[in-house]
């Protein structure tokens, strides 16, 4: 069996008395597009944040491309990883946030060249070339000199996607990236994600409320409930014939609201 790109091995996360992720097992194959849905508090955002090392693990191990992310092997044993190891593995992962988190004091271009120059040590010319190409790909070539405050929400989110891609990650995480957008701006961001999925061999995990998009785009949909995967399957399986009661409940509520 080919090695999964991302593997969660009995991962647990607690916030005080609350268990947010409960011994989660999850395998994501290379190039797979996984949509994660579920009610708030089900742990779905935590999954992404843990891969991105924004949250600490309480139990279990996360593997990226076969290598442990949160731990490292020393003398054949698994010990908690040191900062250098984490950074090394983290380099394969990129994330786009719900609230964009663009650097407000930098232009769109500068946002996309900052990390390549300081972390990957690219020369300015190279970094700007790469950034320019990516901004063109997301349809914002003419906005490279603009500041985030001069861009619409949809444009900012597209810059955020270009910024993450500039680091050439193998796994891209999308955390409810359209939830903070006005409805008419959602489409342009989804289009970029669609394009990404078609043209690149990226492994993508996205937490989303856009059920229609998940249905059409994802290879697999995972429904999270109370820190565990209650049900998962292909979109047609999960949306068309949900086996779990909770899944049915959730889908009904979402469709009513939409």
């Amino acid at each position: 069996m080919t090695m999964p790109m991302v593997r969660f091995d009995k991962v647990t996360k607690r916030y005080g008395p609350l268990t947010v992720l409960d011994q989660l097992d999850l395998d994501v194959a290379r190039g797979e597009k996984v949509a994660i849905i579920g009610p708030s508090g089900s742990g779905k955002t935590t999954v992404l944040r843990m891969i991105m090392t924004l949250e600490r693990i309480d139990d279990g191990v996360i593997y990226v491309e076969g290598e442990p992310l949160t731990h490292m092997t020393r003398n054949g044993r698994l010990v908690p990883a040191d900062a250098r190891h984490i950074r090394q593995v983290r380099a394969k992962i990129g994330m786009v946030f719900q609230h964009f988190n663009l650097f407000p004091h930098m232009t769109a271009l500068a946002n996309c060249t900052e990390a390549p120059m300081t972390v990957l040590r690219l020369k300015r010319k190279e970094a700007e070339e790469r950034a320019g190409d990516l901004l063109a790909m997301v349809g914002l070539a003419d906005k490279r000199g603009h500041y985030p405050s001069q861009l619409s929400g949809g444009q900012q989110q597209r810059v955020a996607i270009a910024r993450a891609l500039a680091m050439r990650p193998k796994v891209m995480l999308f955390d409810e990236v359209t939830s903070a957008l006005d409805p008419e701006l959602v489409g342009e961001v989804l289009n970029v994600i669609r394009k990404l999925g078609a043209e690149h061999d990226l492994t993508m995990l996205m937490v989303t409320h856009q059920m229609g998009f998940a249905k059409e785009f994802a290879d697999r949909v995972c429904f999270f409930y109370q820190g565990r995967i209650a049900e998962q399957g292909s979109p047609s399986e999960l949306f068309g014939a949900p086996k779990n009661d909770r899944t049915r409940q959730f889908l009904r509520a979402v469709l009513e609201a939409g």
Partner: protein, 243 residues
Amino acid sequence: MGVRSLVAILALTIALIAVLGSQPQWAVFMPGLLEGTRITVMVALLGSALAVVAGLAAGLARLYAPTPIRWVASTYVEVFRGTSALVQLFWLFFVLPQFGLSLEPFTVAVLGLGLNVGAYGSEVVRGAIQAVPRGQWEASTALNITRPQMLRRIILPQAFVAMVPPWGNLFIELLKSTALVSLITLGDLAFRAQQMNQTTMRTIPIFTLVLLIYLAISLVITIGMRSLEGRLGKGLARGRGAR
């Protein structure tokens, strides 16, 4: 109030000083007062420079330094905020000599006021850095940027812009505190005023001019800080778009 209105008021104030200061009855005080103003401005400038250095050092230390250094910084801040500037000036002026260290009044003035305002400044620094949205830290982590680079290129530049208005207020407080150095025999504006008042008892002309001069310097500081804020904040619109 916009920068332009402030500049207008400054112009008016200076005009008023010039007009009143050329009245025959009032003109006699001007040379002495202007000499005192020079000292006041010098103390204010040097004191402010020291305050910024001390404030940045203490603020960053309280956030990121190892525990013993953090403790030193916290003690410095609590002591200098908990006692007033005058007490600190008197301590430096009267008590230090008893430990064998006799400083010039000018040095005492700059040191005392600089450290005093620096203590308040450290809180401004801390607050501004902590006010940078969490998302900026997270996005930088996601891009695998190292901590020192994160601070230097992403966090501090944003914090600096937020710091400017409160630092402006602190500089004005420092300016007002310079009047205290008259009480440790330094010949600043307040000293000259008191001196002339003792000899001539012409309170109203002297103190009217003095108050106007302080007001003028105060306005210069405010205008300067507003302009700085405007230039630094390029791109960082007030009430920004991105969160």
